[in-house]
Amino acid sequence: MSDPTPTNPGITDAERDELRRHGILLTGLEELYNWGRSHSVWPLNFGLACCAIEMIAASMAKFDIARFGSEVFRPSPRQADLLIVSGTVTKKMAPQVVRLWNQMPEPKYCIAMGACAISGGPFKQGYNVLKGIDRFIPVDIYIPGCPPRPEALLHGLVQLQEKIRNQAIAGPDAPRHLQAEGNCDCPIPECGAHDIEPAQNDALWPKPPELVRPTKT
């Protein structure tokens, strides 16, 4: 039982269920729109490392990602809705990943698949590995594992669908591409003298608060 909301004014869930029993489907435009696009998420055909093999396995017969409407792996970012960062992102690869993300049209989503994409994982100590792709692009779903099983990827996809279904298409809660500010491209890092620059996207990964140590008296 939910309160009447702007999208279904003056009607409760129980009443809607009652109507559905009589063959009347009552819905709002936002709900219908989100229902449609949540079941046709087209991922980018983009593999980075070990997790990519499990991503391929998820699209094969045993796990069959087609049951969730996402079997259409697109080779071009222009046609894709979902970037699955499937594996270790190195400093050499990070600019390409961000560039691919910028090339995808809105609305777009990102899944960080596996420990490496989330935090650098087992290779975190390495000098050439990013400490997580979420420092550069906004990540919607994190799937832990090394590599995550295909079932875990499917679970992540279902969670993403849930997220899409709950998105507003107008008003202050609307996603970034529907806001008035316009350009929401992420800055593409470049190879600097010692590290990639910038080392993170400040809008996504704000600097941690400075520790205030009590002074000795």
């Binding site: 055909n45 983009f46 593999g47 980075l48 490392a49 070990c50 990519a52 093999i53 499990e54 391929i56 396995a57 094969m60 017969a61 045993k62 080779p75 970012p77 594996g87 270790t88 190195t90 050499k92 690869m93 390409q96 691919l100 087992p122 290779f123 100590q125 390495g126 000098y127 050439n128 590995v129 090394c146 590599p147 099983r149």
Partner: protein, 388 residues
Amino acid sequence: MNATPLANPSSGAHVRSVPGDLPGDLMEVSMGPHHPSTHGVFRMIVTLDGETIVRLKPVFGYLHRNHEKLAENTSYLGSMPYTDRLDYLNSMTNNWAYARAVEQLAGIAVPERAEYVRVILAELTRLLNHTCLAGFLMQDCGCSGTPLMYAFREREKILDLFESLSGSRMMCNYQRFGGCRVDPSAAWLAAAQQLVDGYGPFLDEFEALLTGNEILLARTQGVGRLSAALAINAGVTGPMLRATGVNYDLRKVDGYGVYPRFQFRIPLGEHGDVYDRYMIRILEMRESLAILRQALAGLPAGPIMNPAAKLRGFRPKAGEAYGRIEGPKGEIGFHLVSDGGPNPWRYHVRAPSFINLTILEDLCLGHTVADAVIILGSIDIVLGEVDR
């Protein structure tokens, strides 16, 4: 036909014309690192005359994960899970090569049962790798879907076996110095036997679909020819080398483990083209099945782990060792230098994918872009191992 060297060949432009001394302009195309046919994050800078390749510059390093440096800063056993992630299709053989290197370094004996189990797992891995390779190669030929689906169906069966034995589908982390981590149960061995019995019929079905197929023959025969001399000079190993007709297989040459006890043949190619490389893998799978049948029938009882092997506080005496086995992609070896400490002083991986990839330009010159894709597919690379 010579392409004029570019001032800065990696400036990021994807397609641009290259001024040459020929009447028509050459064109430079950057394939990768995001390209569905490069099997990961590999980049080829291809210079084209029309559709013919006149120059090809491979660019690696997009997946350089500091494997060797990390291994020099962790204990010997701590590197074992990292070896899983080298060639992430074949974790069992990577584990075995690394365990062999450390066993040679420290002089640890391996019980007979463990040697048999290692052979069983290595041959299952070879089945897995070659099946997936055939599927991916067909995908590169443009046959998107069906063969790869068949291959992954069989792969899942093998992964189920690996999972029930080691607890993980892909990253098995199973071998230990002086044996194996878990003793396979009778039920596991029965399941393995069942898989081996069912694999021959699968291969028959797979071959009926592919081997004599008109399109496959037209696309692969005479494409990407590799001469035996070049293969030997470049250090190419594995099915790539044997497709050129060189009889070199470490299972016979070194006779490591218990391989000398088994009857099996080494398939050899003649032309060294993509088709031979495909056929070698299919035939090797049949020989792997023969080895598996013998190993499962002859598996002795006994301990799976050398009781004298030390897991904690492991410090081999100063020295160096090179352990190698015949992995599915070629000779996979680990070179370890110890200074007596708990970590290797130097740790080097001889990665077959990387060394086999060095001849890519020689294979591709004079062919079209579409052929470069299947030549790359037939080399069988995994970028985790190429870039490490």
